[in-house]
Amino acid sequence: MREFLRGRQARILAVLFLLMLGLMLLDASGEGYGSAPSRLLAAVTAPLQKATAALSDRWASFFSRYTDAAAAHEQAAALEAENDELRRQLIELDELRRQNEQYRQELAIADTTEGLTTLPAAVIARDANARFSAFEIDVGKKDGVEVGNLVITPSGVAGVVSAAYDRVARVTTVLSPEISIGVCISATGELGEVQGDPAAAAEGKTLVKLLPGDCAAEAGSLVVTAGVGGNYPRGLLLGTLETGVQAGENGVEGSARLIPAVDVNEIVNVSVVTGFTDSAKGGE
């Protein structure tokens, strides 16, 4: 051992370790030295990841037929009951839709979800150990994706693009504390901000912060993007409140746990919102 420590190998290893420390400093200094190798790796591995993602989906769906049979049976019973309830609501909804259309025409209000320019994408990489369920998609800068673009599914918002390379992009999900999306409670119109929390993220939930302390929203209230500031379109579903709003220590601000509309650990296909018209924007 002493021979090794005094020898050439130990010295080379020490130099390499110092090199790694230097790389860390350069990367942390934010001068972009670290992004070049990342881009190179993304370019090399993206086609392979695309192929392996397809393979992995087939593998998972093949085995899930057998392993999830009991859960599927229970789910079918629950869905049947839900279906009955939805049929009843559908009748009410038809009536409301007719009225809504009439009011829209009278007040000349545009549909909030119209006017989005979206780009379909597939999830090609995901590490269960990655913090807050981040994942990678198979579209990037060359497809028109930019950092900050919203990533959605038919169920609602999944996250925001946090890094965009030529042909792939990394998505930070709504569970992450690094994310911050302006939202409003659909029923009351009160504004807040969705920001992840590690304890909530462990249970697949997130938080709505900066709500008024006396906010009357109850559990089950829908939370949608507010579109304030014009960074994101308004009216896209983020989820439902798990609890009522709990006022903070000062009583001015409140927060509530949010059940995301999208299970970010299970999604396979997403759409990236690359643009939206003025009609989809909220107030400045």
Partner: protein, 168 residues
């Protein structure tokens, strides 16, 4: 085959194995158990280190760490440096104190995973105040799964290092 050619072929095979581990690491849903997925790259680093000298083992570990950093956007060099120490450390331990056995490979892989998980938790959670209660629940299964990931890698690396391309 000349020694130099054997060596080159062996390291080419190692490089392919590491790339395969990187793909397994990032493949969505495959071999994911609940919230936990084995860290294939640390398993590859440790198993290769069992059969190699400290310097090549350290360099191999550094490559695995850099791939891990690049794939998941962590600070470039953070895992590179950590994996370098682990690779060289495992190789030294096996050279001076242990033997090239499957049980040893599983044990050193588990031991090598521990500092990676702890450092990640310290630098990315505790320092930023993201202290969730789930860490210890994830740590043990993650250690076990990563050690198990060494199980299929061990015979492959042994085949390459001892049977196909022996350096002696």
């Amino acid at each position: 085959m000349r020694l130099q050619s054997r060596r080159r072929l062996k390291w080419l095979c190692y490089a392919l194995l590491i790339l395969l581990c990187c793909l397994l690491q990032t493949m969505p849903r495959l071999l994911t158990f609940g919230q936990v997925k084995p860290i294939w790259l640390i398993a590859a680093c440790c198993v290769i280190a069992v059969f190699e000298q400290p310097l090549p083992a350290g360099i191999c570990g550094m490559c695995c760490g850099l791939l891990y950093d690049m794939a998941w956007g962590s600070l470039l060099g953070f895992n590179g440096g950590l994996f370098l120490l682990i690779g060289a450390g495992v190789s030294l331990f096996v050279t001076y104190l242990l033997r090239q056995r499957l049980t040893v490979a599983l044990l050193v892989t588990a031991c090598g995973t521990l500092p990676v998980l702890l450092a990640g938790y310290l630098f990315y959670n505790v320092m930023w105040g993201y202290t969730g209660g789930s860490f210890w629940l994830l740590l043990i299964p993650n250690l076990l799964l990563t050690a198990l990931a060494a199980l299929p890698l061990y015979p492959i690396v042994r085949l390459l290092a001892v049977r196909w391309f022996p350096e002696r």
